[in-house]
Amino acid sequence: MAVVQKSIALPRPRRPLLPAGALQAAVWILVVGLIVGPFIPMLYASARDRPLYEAGGILTLEPYRQLFSDGEFWKAWANTLQYAGLTTIMAVIGGASVAILVSRTNLVWRRAFGRLILLPILLPPLGLVLGWIVVWGPGGYLANLFSQRLHLATLAIDTIPGMSLIEASRLLPVAYMTCEAALARADSSLEDAARSAGATPSRVLRSVTIPMLRPALLNSATLIFTLAVASLGIPLLLGTARNIKFVSSYLYLQWTNAEQPDPATVSAGAMMLLVVATLLLLLRNRLLGAEARYVSIAGRAGRNAMLPLRGLRWPLAITIALYLTFSTLIPVLGLALMSVVVVLTPLVAPWKLLTWDHWHQLSTGEFHRAIVNSLEISLVGAILATALVTVATLVAHRSRFPLRKALPFVLLYPRATPGLIIGIGFFWTYLLTWGVGSWLRGSIWGIMLAFCVRNLPFAYVVMYPTLARIGEELDRAGRAAGAGWWRTCRGIVLPLLRPAIFSAFILMFVEILCDYDPALFLVKPGNEVIGTTMLSQFIQGSVGPVAALAVVQVTITLVVLGLGARLFKIGVTGGHDA
């Protein structure tokens, strides 16, 4: 055995130019500043007797007094709670049922259903709602067809239960994913044991499977309830026409449509909504406990024995297929059809009304600008947000920065914050930050920043499980070898995290492309994005071009997600543990 010759003088590792603590502190301040910061001007604006853009003014609780004395506001709350409650019940029951059927029974086509059921949450929410309206709405194609030709009444979707149904179909994947992950983690031998003990499949479901799902059900119910309270698109598009106001649409309409816009009162309302959303998030964190907060991607090895459905195998599969057809496929097809006909009516066959006019409009004016702007901010925003979340996740979980424990909560916070509140927050922030603020306010980058902050949690939830699976000894080995924190991150952790960084980027791109509600308070002529244009043009009645725009958005989303899924598979092997 050769003796180690010290043939080469080995210097001691040098101190890095910038201490790791400075970098960590900078990232921490940036993340907390971006997420919590905008609420401070909003709080300030809600406690002033006049808008911030007017000189003078004193601190007062008058806006709150005014808001709380408005009967309309309380009625809006009643509507919102009813809407969110109904949505939660439908989405959780639906999502949990599908999750059980797909992962624990011998349902036909269960694998395909497991993927397709996620579509509503991946597709642009606004586009999907417009699809529903075009097909099932008052005067919608199929709604008319059913009532006039078949004399069958369809559900009126412009009522609270109707709107809840649409919202539930959008949020059902949230319940599905949570329950599916819980089922994948739970040992199926628990169920096998019950069957060996003589329980019938339905008894096993009742006594073992469903009780085991309880934490997942509570968790997804809280999240869905929060998201439904925060929802703006459906209330605005369907509720306003029937004069059914919800908290979100009430605030939006107070801001834009009132004879005397009262930003202070709107800010007060936004503060109240923010408090409710925060309480719900805290409640959810309490329900979850520390460990189970994140869904681990890692699946269990080995296949479970499936509960036999016997005679129900086909009927249940057909039910799910019909559900997917009516809730997702038909609205999307409806949009596509709408985009190529002059009007969509059961009275005239669609092929007699074909036109490319709507699509031609996309290459001009506001529509064209919106598409270009959206693509630009999606690309730049996804890069910036992914980079920030990546480093923030490292600070939160792989550093000894003293305040690191606050970061996971802060990073998840915008998930429960209504988009319109983020919009109002950034509106006031830009107003109060002089040169930078006014530049951001006048350009698409201000909207981009708000969208990025809104969607940060998605990047984090994708990134964290992968990071958690990269053994901490790998970076300790780097430190012991003499590399500082950042050098270790660059050389060891980030290369291993690459697949997760890539999927976070894909997800951020899609989410920013499809987002709209924070922009409603920031948009100006010239810096429109796809979402805001769809909303404003639809309200103005140009349904055809909006449908074409929605088809564009859906197509880009599906292409990017498909591309991401394909590339992502190649990169997965890099992330395994030593």
Binding site: A2, V4, Q5, I8, P11, P13, R14, A477, A481, A578
Partner: protein, 359 residues
């Protein structure tokens, strides 16, 4: 070359004291082992030296230079301690080739490309991995991955080598080979090494000195022979190897032996002691099974004192020896012998020198 000095380390997790006043000194070139059951604080001690845990109190110095001192709030970052460490999981970076794994510490130290290549190849030669430099970790066996980890810890000539249960992921055959190999390498390089394990065989066979730990408290520090033959207390006796514990009262004292009465079976048992014990006090004595001499009851014997009559309750053949479970008028004993004893009635001799007082 450095001596490691660990003084009065205390580490608490909430109410729990993971390290309670842990002090020891490792001499230059020594292979020093921290031995104990899981959760005893041995890994916490090692990680405190490496800089991945921050003790609440105490001081750690390498070669006379403090790297941690709670009283003056000195806590040198892990990357500036210049220690080599091999983790239990090896922590070989999966996205780098064997060569790149070893090159990383040198790149951090900004070595020229030429020097880097020379040095890495030198160490690859040393750990018998020269033909594998272009392989990725997943293309290597467990033993090879372990040698990559070791090479990576040696490549920058660290002042001290820390080994955190490095053999626990190897199968039994390979483990034995790896032990000898690491011990030889450590000896050749003369590298001061701290080794953490819960495996007593590993600790006894490899170490110059062993520190036995339990509940965050140092139980005994000594050579493998001392720890095995003269355990300081009951815990050490039971943790390191198999043991018979005999409890009795002190009846008297004679030469360097105490006379102990342990029930009906063992009256007037002679036990070697360092100091005369209090008469009538209670005493527990540890005797290793292989120290007991078992003979058929009929055999003429040169041992007369310290000999008990016993009945064999079970025999197990273990390849190189037999293990006997004995009943000496109510006193249960375990004995090992390379010979097979024909009868069930036996005589058991307990050599006074093989007895260690543990309580």
């Amino acid at each position: 070359m450095p001596e490691i000095d660990v003084a009065q380390l205390v580490k608490t997790f909430g109410d729990q004291r993971a390290l309670d006043d842990v002090s020891f000194t490792v001499a230059d070139g020594e292979l020093f082992t921290l031995l104990g059951p899981s959760g005893c604080g041995k890994s916490t001690t090692l990680m405190s030296i490496a800089g991945f845990q921050t003790p609440n109190e105490g001081r750690i110095a390498v070669g006379g230079e403090a790297i941690f001192d709670a009283s003056s709030r000195l806590n040198l970052a892990a990357e500036r301690r210049n220690l080599g460490i091999v983790f239990q999981s090896y922590a070989v970076w999966p996205h780098m080739t064997v060569f790149d794994n070893l090159a990383f510490p040198l790149k951090v130290r900004k070595l020229s490309r030429k020097d880097l290549g020379t040095r890495v190849r030198e160490v690859l030669e040393l750990v018998d991995l020269a033909p594998y430099e272009k392989r990725y970790p997943h293309q290597l066996s467990g033993g090879q991955q372990q040698r990559v980890a070791l090479g990576r810890a040696l490549v920058y000539s660290p002042s001290v080598l820390l080994l955190d249960e490095p053999f626990s992921n190897l199968d039994a055959k390979l483990r034995e080979r790896a032990r000898t190999w690491v011990k030889d390498l450590q000896h050749t390089l003369g590298l001061t090494t701290i080794f953490v394990t819960h495996d007593q065989d590993e600790a006894l066979s490899m170490s110059d000195r062993v520190l036995v730990m339990d509940g965050g408290v140092v139980q005994q520090i000594g050579t493998p022979e001392e720890v095995y033959r003269r355990p300081a207390n009951r815990f050490v006796a039971e943790f390191v190897g198999q043991v018979n514990l005999i409890t009795g009262t002190v009846a008297g004292h004679e030469d360097r032996n105490a006379i102990v009465d342990a029930g009906e079976a063992a009256r007037g048992l002679r036990v070697r002691v360092d100091q005369a014990p209090q008469p009538r006090s209670s005493l527990t004595v540890a005797v290793r099974p292989e120290a007991l001499i078992v003979e058929a009851a009929g055999d003429a014997s040169h041992n007369t004192s310290n000999t008990l009559l016993a009945r064999v309750t079970s025999v197990a053949f273990l390849g190189d020896h037999y293990q006997y479970e004995l009943d000496a008028s109510g006193l249960a004993l375990t004995a090992q012998s390379p010979h097979q004893v024909g009868s069930t009635d036996v005589k058991v001799h307990i050599p006074p020198d093989a007895c260690a007082v543990v309580a």
